[in-house]
Symmetry: C2
Subunit: 408 residues, 2 copies
């Protein structure tokens, strides 16, 4: 029997459904962020990246880079094994203290990625609660869904951000443990969960809460502790999950909660136990980023200013912007072929890298261009982005809204 | 309803079963590897680590550390997002080329950890093969088992390294696709799979093969390509999985195989798609380690010499060494309480860090001390290790074998 045809056929299906994707090769330039070199078969050229989760440019912050370098010299690159086997490293212990402090929790636990943290933590937590019912938001990230699936626990999906629906589901399961799983900030629609109401419901119906703050930590709330902190309800959430790979500019994920919960997950989660620890230079870099963003408002202010500017310019130009209350700026394109083409033209002809997102992330036939303004984009870059988008819209005969108001 | 008691109870059960573990805090010293500083509530003291998967000391190799530093300066720490969203980074592309070359395969794909590579690759591969039957070795690592579980495919477990049993299972399922999942080198018993026979059987019964070489890459075979390469059968294996976190001294995992297989996994595996890419400085460090170990035999020779010396000294001293044909040196202790105590005494009184492994990894009541000699342990360290073990054995009244032969 030959097997390669199974994989060739899977690829053919993706091509037929126009779902086959190739990642552009981008060489990010620390000194000129958000500029990068795009390497393709046609050669190399400079581009501006408008598509990254390094929202505050912390990956190239001198303190962060220096922390990685010093630690690499002192302790080497890798951790040398799992934490049980090769011991835990000092920067990892310090990182967990810093994260617990950030979220006002007793303890924190670091995983090798945000994806792994959700997958491992939820599956372990739910397994430790007999007869646990998981109530999960319909728009939750794949990593949360994977953790729920692996837990084997019963789950019920509540309509996205619909607290009335959540309440009906809670009320219908009065005499059993319940875990509410949600995100504070959903990256696809750029919208915010009604966290305070979810906490009210959790308290009223005796449920536990697990909140993914991946797209919010570093960027919102006092000391960058996230949206729940901004809304004054962080202390009411049982488990806060976050990532070190977006605003903190590194890689890794974590949960923060009570001593017992963190210690139980540490002791029981296979995805934590049987995997090499995060390298000390990564931990040190993350510590530097978190510490800096606890003290500095500058990056958050600059990013928010840039977000407002991008929204104002694109809106004034008549581009079909989705309204969001966050740093996520999706531009809708009601034709997925044109959406993909727009991304290609922007990259090839205007040196602007924006990722088109299509089916299955979007409904079939439609698409979106995701623009993520960072603290490092300049005013000139915003103008160039708006001009390029308008030009591409005209070339592709996409509709521009008539706008009366001038650019902000 | 309160939830903390669920976690407190889980911890109590672990304590009752004597399974509760605390990771020692080790500050590895790049310049004096395998020495480290052990930080505990009693203060800090220097120790020698005999327990690490940084088998060849590559995590502190000047080329590896320099590659991390230069790349951190040039591109920053983090990758800035998933590969689909933020683009793929140049060191990652080069790393995958180097890995494909190492294993003589058409392509390779890098994941954020070895654990994730097994979990994501196997679950995706098996899902793409309709009616796939997975035949899995009984001693396979948790990450392989997790991938199998997530695939939802039917599985049958063959007795560890028992090719007669494997053949019976293969013969019993003639008319369906079959995937044989195994490791080349099992870290718990330090034994080697009969890879050539497995390949024979796979060809005879039309099965596909997936071989985890995590504990072998960098250390065995020409250019450090692993045990399958050493035995001249690497080209007969469909998928080779390896880690960047052990002999290569970094973090991350990978698979190597045909273009179609790698491209299909890249396009379909959630654990690959929805997670931030490995940071460029990590990729660059891994490239340096792999390249160095393709060319240099020195580290492999030094490690093997140290392994032979440890085995000879411990055996001559009458310590109950398990016979292995690999770099894994397990010392058996038929009393799990004394096993744990031995680890504590070695660390506290002799400055030697060796990890005791007990239930559930071992059968209940028994334990093992895992010793992993590296290329950087000196002859004096080996003597000190043997002396300390003998001393601890006497203090704990553990049996020493009478040995006639002198130390090698």
């Amino acid at each position: 029997m030959t097997y390669d045809h199974f994989f060739a056929e899977a690829l053919m299906r993706l091509h037929e459904e126009r779902r086959y994707r190739v990642s552009a090769e981008m060489e990010r330039l620390a000194g000129r962020c958000p500029s990068a070199i795009w390497h393709s078969s046609q050669g190399s050229k400079p581009v501006v990246m408008w598509c990254s989760t390094d929202y505050l440019g912390m990956s190239r912050h001198p303190k962060v880079v220096a922390a990685m370098m010093v630690t690499a010299i002192n302790t080497g690159v890798g951790a040398g094994g799992t934490r049980n086997f090769a011991g835990t490293n000092r920067p990892l212990v310090e990182l967990e203290c810093g994260l617990a402090d950030l979220h006002g929790k007793a303890a924190a636990l670091v995983f090798t990625s945000g994806y792994v943290s959700n997958q491992s933590a939820i599956s372990t937590i739910a397994r430790l609660i007999p007869d646990c019912l998981i109530l999960t938001d319909a728009f939750n990230h794949d990593s949360l869904n994977e953790g729920i699936r692996q837990s084997g626990a019963e789950k019920q999906i509540w309509h996205h951000n619909d607290v009335a629906h959540l309440e009906r589901l809670l009320a219908a399961a009065p005499n059993r443990p319940k875990l509410i799983v949600f995100e504070s900030l959903y990256s696809m629609d750029g919208d915010i969960a009604p966290i305070a109401v979810i906490c009210d419901l959790a308290e009223r119906y005796g449920a536990m809460t697990y909140c993914d703050e991946s797209h919010a930590v570093g960027m919102y709330g006092p000391r960058g502790a996230g949206v729940a902190a901004r809304e004054g309800v962080m202390h009411r959430i049982d488990v806060i999950e976050g990532t070190l790979g977006k605003a903190f500019g590194c890689i890794g994920g974590y949960i923060a909660g009570t001593h017992n919960l963190i210690d139980a997950v540490r002791s029981q989660a296979p995805g934590f136990i049987f995997t090499s620890a995060l390298p000390p230079p990564i931990c040190a870099a993350a510590i530097a980023a978190i510490q800096h963003l606890k003290e500095s408002e500058k990056e958050r202010e600059q990013q928010q200013k840039c977000v407002a500017r991008v929204k104002a310019f694109l809106s004034a130009a008549g581009l079909p912007l989705m309204a969001t209350a966050t740093h996520i700026v999706p531009v809708t394109v009601d034709d997925s072929a044109k959406c993909r083409l727009a991304g290609e033209l922007l990259l090839r002809d205007y040196g602007i890298y924006v990722q088109p997102v299509e089916f299955p992330t979007m409904a079939k036939g439609s698409g979106r261009l995701y623009i993520t303004p960072t603290s490092l984009h300049t005013d000139d870059m915003v103008v160039a982005l708006a001009d390029a988008l308008v030009d591409v819209w005209k070339r592709l005969e996409l509709p521009l809204r008539l706008q009366m108001r001038a650019a902000a």
